[in-house]
């Protein structure tokens, strides 16, 4: 077990690095990404509310009625200021979809039939949400206008229009539709699809490079130790460290989510993670056969992990990606990791065969990557023995 022990000796020497990685990524996951996720329900229609901010300089019956009515249908939020820069920031970051500014004299202008100079909506007019909100502003004022034309006082008209705005249409969910929303637990595992590749390649690749060192390799080859035994022990040690990593992130998940995550679901989530870690180990093996430059290792690890994250829907919801991208994503292991994750979280136990298929495909990807790495490794060895060295 010499090589096996050596693997863990090097891993132990890198324990500070591993702690840094786990600490930083756990902080990113639990401190930044998870708090941004929203839990959704699956079986009812969720009203889409627009966030808006309102500045009412008129403070009339009509302006107050408008603000109240909009607050019923949408979400009124406070913003620090109504200057152009703040409005632009809040609109761009999606904190509001519209800023409403009601100028003094609005109610009088409404009675005269000319409100445009007194009511301004700051938004991006071409956006869906801005259109919806502007439609609701017009709707309320149209009702008030109708009621006042019918002889209601402004007070009564505003009240009647407000009551009307509160009425909702009957919306039913069509059978066969997929209204599932991503859970926070799913988001946690989803982002691990990015982090695991990065972590495994950053930590394991240098160890594999060290074990592939020419002098060390020559010493092992001239010993009584068989070549297959060496590879077998490296494989075992890599797998064991992968299982350890799965254990760490499963433990963190269990500590954070508590009883919400457990039983067979947890076992399947962890199995899925293990399959993906095996893919990550295969990628680490491939990188170790391509280069020994630490800068290049980090660059390649980032290109692969971030590239798959963008392509397979880790950072942006998958359904938003174009058809072409969705087709290409099927040829990447992260897609099958996320696919299994969706099935475990959304349609278990009916989807168990699909989940197993996704596990199998991930392992198949790992096998293909390992074969590719061995081919490259042989080519590099042959070229170096004939005097040519790899450019990378």
């Amino acid at each position: 077990m010499q090589v096996f022990k050596l693997f863990f000796k090097i891993l132990k020497a890198n324990r500070i690095l591993i702690l840094i990685f786990v600490g930083v990524y756990a902080a990113i996951l639990f401190g930044v990404i998870i708090p941004l996720q929203h839990e959704g329900t699956a079986d009812t229609y969720l009203e889409q509310k627009c966030k808006f901010a309102i500045m009412d300089e008129d403070n009339s019956v009509l302006s107050r009625g408008l603000a109240e009515s909009l607050g019923t249908v949408h979400e009124n939020v406070e913003i620090s200021s109504f200057d152009k820069e703040t409005l632009q920031d809040e609109l761009y970051n999606g904190n509001i979809c519209t800023a409403v500014i009601i100028k003094s004299g609005f109610e009088d202008s409404f009675t005269r039939g000319d409100t445009e100079d007194y009511l301004t909506l700051y938004n991006v007019p071409t956006e869906n949400k801005a259109m919806l909100f502007a439609g609701d502003v017009d709707e309320y004022l149209r009702y008030v206008s109708g009621y006042t034309a019918a002889g209601f006082s402004m007070n009564d008209a505003c009240k009647a229009a407000g009551d009307l705005v509160g009425e909702t249409a009957d919306v039913r969910i069509i059978t066969g539709s997929d209204l599932t929303h991503e859970s926070v637990i799913q988001s946690y595992y989803k982002y691990l699809g990015w982090i695991l590749i990065l972590m495994v390649t950053s930590v394991i690749t240098p160890i594999l490079i060290a074990l592939n060192d020419k002098k060390l390799r020559n010493r092992i080859e001239c010993s009584s130790f068989h070549f297959s035994k060496v590879n077998g022990q490296i494989l075992m040690a890599s797998l064991l460290s992968g299982i350890g990593l799965v254990g760490i992130f499963t433990l963190l998940a269990k500590l954070y989510f508590g009883s919400a995550l457990g039983g067979f679901r947890l076992a399947l989530m962890s199995s899925n993670m293990l399959c993906y870690v095996i893919v990550a180990l295969a990628i680490a093996f491939l990188i170790s056969r391509i280069t020994s430059n630490s800068m290049v290792i980090n660059m390649v690890a980032n290109v692969i992990s971030l590239g798959m994250a963008f392509f397979c829907g880790i950072f942006v919801p998958y359904y938003l990606l174009g058809d072409g991208v969705q087709t290409v994503a099927r040829f990447l292991p992260a897609y099958w990791y996320l696919n299994a994750l969706n099935d475990i979280d959304g349609s278990f136990p009916e989807a168990l065969p699909d989940i197993i298929q996704s596990f199998g495909l991930q392992l198949l990807f790992a096998a293909v990557i390992i074969v590719a790495a061995m081919v490259i490794s042989n080519a590099v060895r042959e070229s170096s023995s004939t005097g040519y060295s790899s450019t990378l």
């Binding site: 941004l36 301004t120 938004n123 956006e127 869906n128 034309a149 249409a169 066969g176 963008f310």
Partner: protein, 379 residues
Amino acid sequence: MFIHNFKYAFKQMIRNKAAIIWTLIFPLALGSIMFLAFGNIYDSDHVFHTLNVAVVRDEENIYFEYLLDELSTGDDGSETLLNVEFLDRENAEKGTVNGDYDAVIYEGREITLGVTKSDIQQEIVRSIVEQYNKTVSMIGDVAKSNPAGIPAVISTLSDSVRGYASQETTTDGNTDMYTNYFYAIIAMSCLFGAYAACDFSEKLALAASELGKRRSIARCSKGLQAVSSFFAMWIVQLAVEIITIFYLKAIGVNLGDKILHMIPVVAAGAAVGIALGTLIGSVPVLSQGQKAGITTSVSLGLCVMADLCAEGIKDMVEHTVPILNRINPAVLISDSFYALNVFDTYERYFRNLILLTVIAVVFLAVSYIILRRDRGASI
């Protein structure tokens, strides 16, 4: 002496072909992948496009059909609100499940709606249906309280199809929030200059390498060696960033019209990246692997805060601990691009630029102090 050191540091940089290639591949590959993945998401998901609606006529309602006709007829070929198709229930629902229609409207005395998801498109259709139902309800109200007022109500409702409010924008620039991802990738590429700098800095540190020992006894101050290496790396990194910006622009990423104004930002960003690497590399107690790990963690952490992997993180920090955004170089780079792209003024752009320069100088100053204090007592 500066020129001499600079020349050799520069030669060393450009001879490390693998490093140069990957430094360039990183932003170009990720920029291309991102552009393919969600280059058009904003337009398809946030910008309004005609909604496809299937109508199931359970009972004929001529008033509602008149409304549908109005909403699906555009002026002079302009985009209409709805594209309506009358179908039987089975085909309408099947088509909606398949994604051919945004919603199903069930026409009758009261209008109801069928959807497959809760999204903004469905909400707009719901709003149309609700407005019709509410208008009917309002006429009913008036009929009860003041029947004589009905003609006036109908006349007012017909007159008031126009908007009551004026709509204004805060910018003529790019409002696509997904562009933030591209800004973050450029920021990340700048900060990844830290890898090369970390390596160079290690070669200056007395205890870290043989070259460091030789350099320590050379008749050239460490400060001069550090500064000359810094400029050599900075030039290479800056070239990479300029290529990245022009490449992203060429493939169609909307980076705005002020491309030349972006160059000072990446120049300052690259300086911060290299200064960060110099700082990490100069810490004597860390091994090479630990330095690489810290470089990765720090640069990734900073870029995550600049919305690299999820929207809204930068904004969340801005509303809770804004000072963090003022000292995070990735956020400063990304925010400078944003400010250039949407504002007419340069106040924020220059503020970010100054902050980036200050951060680079502070990192370099601290690295210099660490390198100077290294007297080799531990050897």
